[in-house]
Symmetry: C2
Subunit: 303 residues, 2 copies
């Protein structure tokens, strides 16, 4: 069973971990790169790394980095006149240093990602949405366009988001393999990631939305529990951009692309509120591998 998962960071990564544990599933991930940035001169790809680390079961406890990592480098940076808000562990730095070095040497992000996924023993194809530079920018009431990492890490996603753009997306091409994987997929799943900040930057790459519209089913898993994200600003960003609150907003954000939407039991009322896509109610909390695998089985069990 060929499955494509569109994913941002933590939520999508946890569903990926469940999907990759199902032997019948040939999994291809198409991962958001709108959060990518240069930090301390390092090329960081937070969602790609979170997906790979989580599928390997070695992700850090707070939604970034590696479990049990040390911070000798960051601690040494404390002595220097330097804003070290963005914490990178020593082992995590190796991943970023590898990517920085290889991109500078002319490798594509796809090649770099394949090498990292392989080093972590991932039994799935992990693709960036694009090898081109797409950068999510957020407009706030302060009148500034913030880079994603500024918004999310430095300012703790407390700013209201009144507009969003994906710089570079209009001229980006899908990474090699993305359209091919979607076009032969038995199902596409849109993971429980922030629709606007994690999935829109994927859909903004010309060709991807068109390819998805040719595939059935396209199954969404809501990032909301009881109308709000467990972590992060997904529900706030939906409404501040003028979309409906809750899962109605999630459905609307995907604008007819979904055939099905999994929502949590806490949001079972959405079954009657939302007429399209078809709403499926289950326990979508996936705090551990067992829950991830159970949800993944339910989602692909539809096929």
């Amino acid at each position: 069973m060929r499955v494509v998962l569109l994913s941002g960071g933590v939520g999508g990564a946890r569903l990926a971990r469940g999907l990759v544990a199902i032997p019948e599933v040939e999994l291809t991930l198409v991962v958001n790169v709108g959060d990518d940035d240069q930090v301390y001169g390092l090329e960081v790809s937070p969602d790609l790394d979170t997906v790979i680390y989580t599928m390997a079961g070695v992700e850090g406890p707070h939604g970034w980095g590696l479990a049990g990592d040390t911070f000798a480098m960051m601690d040494a940076l404390e002595a220097l006149p330097f804003d070290s808000t963005f914490r990178i562990g020593d082992k995590d730095a190796a991943t970023n240093l590898f990517r920085t070095d290889r991109l500078a040497a002319g490798w594509s992000l796809t090649w770099v990602t394949t090498a990292i996924a392989s080093a972590f023993g991932i039994a799935a194809t992990v693709l960036p949405a694009t090898d081109d530079r797409v950068r999510t920018k957020l407009f706030t009431p302060g009148g500034e366009w913030l880079r994603f990492q500024e918004y999310f890490v430095t300012r703790h996603h407390t700013d209201e988001v009144v507009d969003v753009r994906f710089e570079g997306a209009a001229n980006a091409k899908p990474a090699p393999g993305v359209i091919e994987a979607i076009s032969v997929a038995d199902a596409v799943i849109i993971g429980p990631s922030n629709p606007i900040l994690s999935i829109w930057p994927i859909l903004a790459v010309p060709g991807i939305t068109e390819a998805l519209s040719q595939v059935r089913p396209v199954i969404g898993v809501s990032p909301l529990i009881g109308g709000a994200a467990l972590k992060g600003p997904a529900h706030r960003v939906l409404t501040s951009l003028g979309l409906p609150a809750g899962n109605a907003g999630v459905a609307k954000a995907y604008d007819g692309l979904l055939t099905d939407l999994f929502v949590d039991k806490a949001d079972s009322a959405d079954r009657t509120r939302i007429t399209s896509p078809r709403v499926r109610v289950t326990d979508i909390r996936i705090p551990d591998l067992a829950a991830s695998t159970a949800l993944a089985r339910q989602v692909v069990g539809l096929l």
Copy 2:
């Protein structure tokens, strides 16, 4: 007593540590940047860091990096398809990451170096020879121009050096403060560094040699003991470039610039062999702080 020390890495750094321990000495270092390079996307300045780490008494045991550093980042890189010959410890990576980030932000190398020296509590002014990009390249019988780090780290300085050039030097300007420090110095010392690979790239920056020629004394400390470098290829490079062997070659490499040259007891015969500069014979081995300070006192005692 205002003293300027021209320095490469280990040897010059050890003399610097002795000089900075003498309360009467106001020390300005002018440090080689010809070995600087981009490694894994990081801006490395090996001689500047060695000088700072050594003066702080926290230098690594093998002539690079920091004492007691960990290598979690390098160990993690082993899992990736990556040439990790150039080892950078986790704390040492912080220095390099800081420099990379700040240079990218538009700071000069002088500013970056001042901040690093300050973080390590160095009571001397540490200046790069230039804020411009100067890169030492070595021509070998293999017909290749090697970057310094390729020659030194990757190939363990085993290639014969038949020519040398300092890319960018002709258009480089001395870093702010270099000419000023030299022109008011009571003495300039050229440290026990490789004359050709560590000191020539400093002298190649237009204005520095001219400024030195106005100052007396200019005191060299030989990098040779018994005609050979304790570490590194200094003696081999002298002869492969057609200079005399031993301290005669050191004197010749500085081409009339020195007023005095300190040589080791093992080379006391050079006192009669070399007519200019004046040869001073003493114990120039400086394996520890006590020896460094003793030699430094002798050298500045000349004044």
